[in-house]
């Protein structure tokens, strides 16, 4: 599996390497991972390894946040279809920055 940090989740190429954003405790957050993320990350990986292109079948999002007590935590979404993985988790607010993990037959499935 490949893990990449994204700053934005858009159809255009997002910047890679931005940190997970954690904001003050708030009411809720929805972090959405668009299908283009797979494409885009795959593309960027492919800059060094062409064989990694176009093989992603699933993604999962991970968001770091601080709970109401101030403790840093993570919430992981489920592995979802290549398209959109979205989840809402009460009690936190983050930017659209999430950490996305890819499942891919050539970049490797979950083998950290």
């Amino acid at each position: 599996m490949t893990r990449v940090l994204l700053s934005t989740l858009t159809a255009a190429a997002p910047a890679v390497g931005a940190s997970v954003a954690v904001a003050a405790p708030a009411t809720a957050v929805t972090a959405a991972v668009g299908g283009s993320v797979c494409q885009t990350i795959d593309h960027r990986l492919a800059s060094g390894a062409a064989s990694s292109r176009n093989t992603c079948t699933s993604v999962r999002a991970r968001v770091g946040y601080r709970d109401s007590g101030g403790t840093a935590r993570y919430v992981y979404g489920s592995w979802a279809a290549y398209s959109a993985a979205s989840f809402t988790h009460g009690g936190m607010l983050v930017s659209r920055a999430v950490d996305v993990q890819l499942g891919s037959s050539t970049t490797g499935f979950p083998t950290y």
């Binding site: 599996m1 858009t10 159809a11 093989t55 840093a72 979802a80 279809a81």
Partner: protein
């Protein structure tokens, strides 16, 4: 890895009934299993699978009970490391430090890095492959790649982008950072080709895509 010793115990105890039921012979692998998943089962089993992974994956099927066993093993491993895990409805999980390690790190970065290590170590041999495959095969049963689902979305919405292109050519087009979707419908297909976002989320994502396209990358 940390989880592996535990995995053997859980695998033997939790899967014993299922294994006994299979004593008459392992079930036939699903002949309709998409090649991408079949290859992944093979890859895991040809590597260094844990006892649990071997027992769960060898028939190329993952039952709800097997997935539950894998998650239990993951959670137990995390709890042994003093982290609390809550599985979320619909998949996924929340993890945070228990009282014993809550103040063990000086910064968020250190705390998250420590959690990273726990998740990685505890998923290894438990939910890493089993969880991925279980959830992926249910959310993407055809094992479609991104390009395939985007092409299907384009066709469904009458988007002309990529018409007449081979899959490889369409892949190249979608990977081309200068590619600008021809319409909001096209953007929607690129962002959310299978329509999993809510209307509000999709509108926001499409707007973000449109805005991003107008700002050249630095």
């Amino acid at each position: 890895m940390r989880a592996r010793a535990l995995v053997g115990v859980l695998a033997v105890t939790s899967l014993a009934p299922a294994l006994a039921a299979c004593a008459g012979g392992a079930p036939e692998p699903d002949p309709d299993l998409p090649a991408v998943y079949a290859a992944e089962f093979d890859r895991v089993l040809a590597g260094d699978p844990s006892d649990l992974e071997r027992e769960v994956l060898e028939d190329r099927r993952i039952t709800d009970a097997e997935y539950s066993t894998a998650r239990d093993a993951f959670r137990q491993c995390a709890e042994d490391a003093h982290y609390e895990v809550t599985f979320l409805e619909g998949g996924g999980f929340d993890i945070g430090p228990g009282p014993q390690v809550q103040d063990a790190h000086g910064s968020d970065e250190e705390a998250l890095a420590a959690m990273d290590a726990v998740v990685a170590g505890c998923e290894d041999g438990t939910t890493a492959s089993i969880g991925y495959l279980y959830e992926a095969m249910r959310s993407n049963p055809e094992g479609s790649t991104g390009v395939q689902v985007i092409r299907a979305c384009f066709a469904e919405k009458g988007v002309p982008d990529g018409d007449g292109l081979s899959e490889e050519q369409l892949t190249q087009l979608l990977h081309d950072e200068s590619y600008v979707p021809s319409s909001d419908a096209a953007r929607a297909c690129v962002v959310d080709p299978t329509g999993q976002l809510s209307p509000g989320e999709l509108a926001e994502a499409v707007e973000q895509a449109r805005t991003s396209a107008e700002v050249p990358a630095p």
